[in-house]
Every structure is written in structure tokens, then in C-alpha cells.
């Protein structure tokens, strides 16, 4: 039954989007964490989605969404001159994460919208299934 596959599909998309919201939360929470060297600084993370074909599925197009990997941004970390900071190196610099707050906010809104549209899909298909069950009564 095609409509029952929708629950799996929309559910996988919702969990993938919630991973995305989680990484946004992690990036925003760590946006101002200072460290002593560029290597030790936190780097912005982002999940990469991929479509996984269910080999035992009836139809190949009902590929579920999975998180293939969580990649770290390779943008340069921010350097700030703060000689009195306890973590400052010998030149007086501290290193801050390469998190772009504006980008993260836009990312969060996009993830929330995607999540919502999947909830919508779930609700609609639930309604359709219930109506099909009541057919002829």
C-alpha cells in the first residue's frame, strides 16, 4: 500500500531535519567558545543528506532520507587580539569558531520549514488512509 510507505518516508525526512536543527543548535551554542590554537577551535558542522534505496521495498522511488555524514566547515577560524584572555597564545591571539550566525539562523528556518512540510504530508496521508478505511460504511 503506497500510502503506508509515506509514514516511513516522511518520518525519515523528519529525523534528518531534526539532526540538521541539532547541528545548528550546536553551532550557535559554541559560536563564542574561545580556544588557544586554530586547530583546537570549534568548527561549524553541517549534515549531508542522501537518499537510501530500500532494496526490499516495493517501489524504488520510496527512498528514505538518511544523514550520510556530518561535515565540518573549512572556512578559516576567527582570530581576535585579546592579550589578557587566559587562553591567549604568546602573540596575544585567541581563536574563535568559524560559525556564521546569520547563516545558521537561515539554516534553522529552512530546516524548520522542511520539517513542517513533512508533518503536513504525514497528516494528509493519515487522513486519506482513514477515509479509505471508512469506505463503504
Amino acid at each position: 500500500m503506497g500510502l503506508l510507505n509515506l509514514f516511513d518516508l516522511a518520518g525519515s525526512a523528519m529525523s534528518a531535519q531534526s539532526v540538521r536543527i541539532n547541528t545548528v543548535a550546536s553551532n550557535l551554542a559554541n559560536a563564542e567558545v574561545a580556544s588557544a590554537s586554530p586547530e583546537a577551535a570549534y568548527r561549524a558542522r553541517e549534515p549531508v543528506f542522501t537518499a537510501v534505496l530500500d532494496e526490499f521495498g516495493e517501489h524504488p522511488e520510496s527512498a528514505r532520507v538518511t544523514v550520510a555524514d556530518i561535515v565540518e566547515s573549512d572556512a578559516p577560524v576567527r582570530q581576535r587580539y585579546a592579550p589578557h584572555h587566559p587562553l591567549a597564545d604568546e602573540k596575544g591571539f585567541i581563536y574563535l569558531p568559524n560559525v556564521n550566525v546569520v547563516e545558521e539562523m537561515a539554516n534553522m528556518i529552512s530546516a524548520a520549514r522542511s520539517y513542517q512540510s513533512n508533518v503536513e504530508v504525514l497528516n494528509t496521508s493519515k487522513q486519506l488512509l482513514l477515509n479509505t478505511l471508512r469506505l463503504g460504511q
Binding site: L6, A10, V48, A51, H59, S117, S125
Partner: protein
């Protein structure tokens, strides 16, 4: 005179099957709106319904038992790829608004078929009871 159920239900039985397949495809497009290189797919409902009414499954037929079984593409035949309106950097061709509108429209038409079917069932029941 006997009652033929397949004739009584008309086109709606096949329409429901194709509609549910189409809703699966459209939901898949929406679910993969953020997946890189995902290509949006859809089926041509009119052509699929005509094929279903003509009794063609839309798939390859095995004319010999030794033929390798090819997975049936399912009702509605092989899905087609949507032509993207504008290119995107990650190769994804899903337009969220278009898919949403089509999904809602498809759901409405599914409901319409269900309503027609319940009407037919009501008519059959009246005919059987003879009230």
C-alpha cells in the same frame, strides 16, 4: 441480471491506486527537498490511468520462465523526471512550492474518488436491499 462490481465501481478503483502511488512520489520529492543531487519525479496521471484502463501494467512482461524478473515499476509505470525551473548549485531539482501544491491537489482528488466510491457502494447497497 447480475451486478458487476468492477463495472459498478468504474474508473475510481484504478484512479485510487494511481493517486496513492503519485502521492508517494510527491511526498518523496518533498522529503528530499534538501538532499543534494536528488531529482524530483512524478507520473503523468492521465496517461497512467489510460494505460491502467487498457489493462497494461506498464512494465516488462516475462514471456519465458527463464527470463530474469524485472522489478515491476508499479501502477502508473516508470516515473518521469520533472524539468527544473531554475538550476541549483547542489543539483537538486525539487521546487518545494510546486510539490506542495501538487501533493495537496492529488490528496483532494483522492478524496473525490473516495467520495464517488462511497456513493457507488451506497447505490449497490440500496439495490441489494431493495428498499
Amino acid at each position: 441480471m447480475s451486478i458487476s462490481f468492477s463495472r459498478a465501481l468504474g474508473v475510481h478503483e484504478q484512479a485510487l491506486v494511481i493517486r496513492s502511488r503519485r502521492s508517494e512520489l510527491l511526498a518523496s520529492n518533498l522529503a528530499h527537498a534538501d538532499t543534494p543531487h536528488y531529482k524530483a519525479r512524478d507520473i503523468d496521471f492521465k496517461a497512467a490511468l489510460e494505460a491502467a484502463r487498457a489493462g497494461q501494467g506498464g512494465g516488462l512482461e516475462r514471456t519465458h520462465p527463464d527470463h530474469i524478473a524485472v522489478g515491476s515499476p508499479g501502477p502508473g509505470g516508470e516515473p518521469l523526471y520533472r524539468i527544473p525551473e531554475q538550476p541549483s548549485l547542489d543539483g537538486n531539482t525539487v521546487n518545494r512550492r510546486v510539490e506542495h501544491v501538487k501533493f495537496t491537489e492529488n490528496a483532494l482528488r483522492y478524496q473525490a474518488s473516495i467520495t464517488f466510491l462511497s456513493g457507488r457502494f451506497g447505490g449497490l447497497r440500496t439495490a441489494i436491499r431493495g428498499e
